[in-house]
Amino acid sequence: MKIAEHLEFSTFNFQSSMETIGTQVRLPFKRALAIAVSGIRIRLGRSLVTVSGVVLGIAFLMSNLTGQIVKTALSEEREQSQRVDMMMSLVNAEVGSLEDRTVAVAAFGRVTATDLAFVGRVNSSGPALFRAHGLDRSGLTAVSLQELGKDADLVFVMGDAASASISLQELTAGMASPLVLDTQADREYTGEVGDGIRREPFFGKQAEDMKEEAEVAARTERFRVTWILVISLLVTVVTVANALLMSVTERFREIGTMKCLGALSKFIRRLFLIESALIGMAGSVCGALVGAALTMVIYGAMYGFGKVLLSIHYGQLLLAAVVAVVCGSILSMAAAVYPARVASRMVPADALRSTV
């Protein structure tokens, strides 16, 4: 009774006045960054565990990407050597061994890697003379188009130009039995095809069928690869999100304490976002390096290091690394947004009670 009376009596003394309460300073980004960095450094052990979660996820993604790049490169190389084999067997069927023979090659337009590999194979099978026009490679004797056929057993024509700037007669002038092997069946030559000149395409109908089959196989392979990458991305998302979720929720109590000490919710959110971005970037870079290196070592051990290192497209590899790092950093931040928001909005009393 007494208490109630007194309260009524004195309540009027206490109207709100904002004179005595100030406004908390908003710490600049630099300050938040400094606190986040020192936070990571101070709890280095725990940070490393979180980082390794990210490393694991990104390494998985990167190793799948690298694996695809290496496999594609290796299968391209295998396909090329198959084609060179086919070309060589045609050559051998036509003229037998190339040892001590005189051969010549004319290139019109751009030549493919397969063509170059074929030229290399011919050169290494021991011809007495290997003349070339439009192709500057060591071991080949550069001559004019007209001199190409002189005493030659065989003339190759390659390159992507649809027409050659010479007639077959001129090209085969001086050959005992004129024979031209062309990489394109429908290349046009100037003038008439002379009598007694044989011109064969390297790849007949059968080869075209094989090419089509390979394309179908490649399409199924592409689908499989996409599937694997999607799965690996999901695994990465879960791993990274889990690592960061843990690192935030286990610090609810600490967040409550920081709020008691005057931290703004906004500041706490920012702190965690900066921290997870840093952890995400560091982890992603490490993960990309580890993933790529590990995969190359495994493929290198299986197919030979030289072959793997030489056949890879390094541009693709770099692109994959950039994708993985960007993915990892964004994922890490995204994974921290939700728990950081929950934590920063918690009433300090509740945050302090939590016992995670």
């Binding site: 208490i3 004195s10 206490f14 406004t23 300050r31 304490t257 008691c260 000490l261 300090p348």
Partner: protein, 261 residues
Amino acid sequence: MKMEDKQLEQLFRGENEAGKLDHVIRAVDVRKVYTMGDSETHALAGVSLDVRRGEYLSIMGPSGSGKSTFFNMVGGLDKPTEGKVYIDQVDIAQLDPYELAWLRCRKVGYIFQTFNLIQVMSCIENVTLPMAFAGMDSEEARDKGIEILERVGLGDRALHKPAEMSGGQQQRVAIARALANSPDILLADEPTGNLDLKTGQEIITLFSKLREELGVTIITATHDLKMLKSSDRIVWIEDGLITRVSKPEDMQIELADIEGE
């Protein structure tokens, strides 16, 4: 009989000897209901209390009586379901987040039974954290942090981690941290609850010393009768209600009785 009534009135109104009012905290009919599923807990069932500036107030009560809940309301760590809390005559329910953070940072220092130090940080880092939140630059904060640590008797432990210290030392660090931004009010929720008798006594002595030297208002919750001697006023709370307000002098006989038993 009349005289006692007058004294009691003064006590309730938090008047000082001269009969002047200077309230740093004022709680008016504060209620807090926790709802969990179907069950409701009335942790505070209407508590009104005025606290004078510079007062050393003890809140006594058994476990579960609502002491911590009252602390959270008074310290701006939670919102009451009903009722108002004024700090320096400002209704803290009206404060925006920036003002509330300012209040927690500079006006009130919190001390907990479980210390709540940030385990991965050293003493000095714990103590300077609130200064960083207040925008103080780190060098100045460091100097001030060392000074405060010296004040609580831990000048030589600045670089130690909480895990390397005894409970009493950790609580001293927590007190140093609470003092970081020279608050007007120290809120201590069972500060000796996790400490042995002797260490607890040292912490209580420290509180008295801080009150003398700095003039801070100290409110402690406790169920340790030893804490009562140095306080100006004792508020008894039970089942979320204030049952009694007394002065330590009145308690001497009761204390003697308890010690005699």
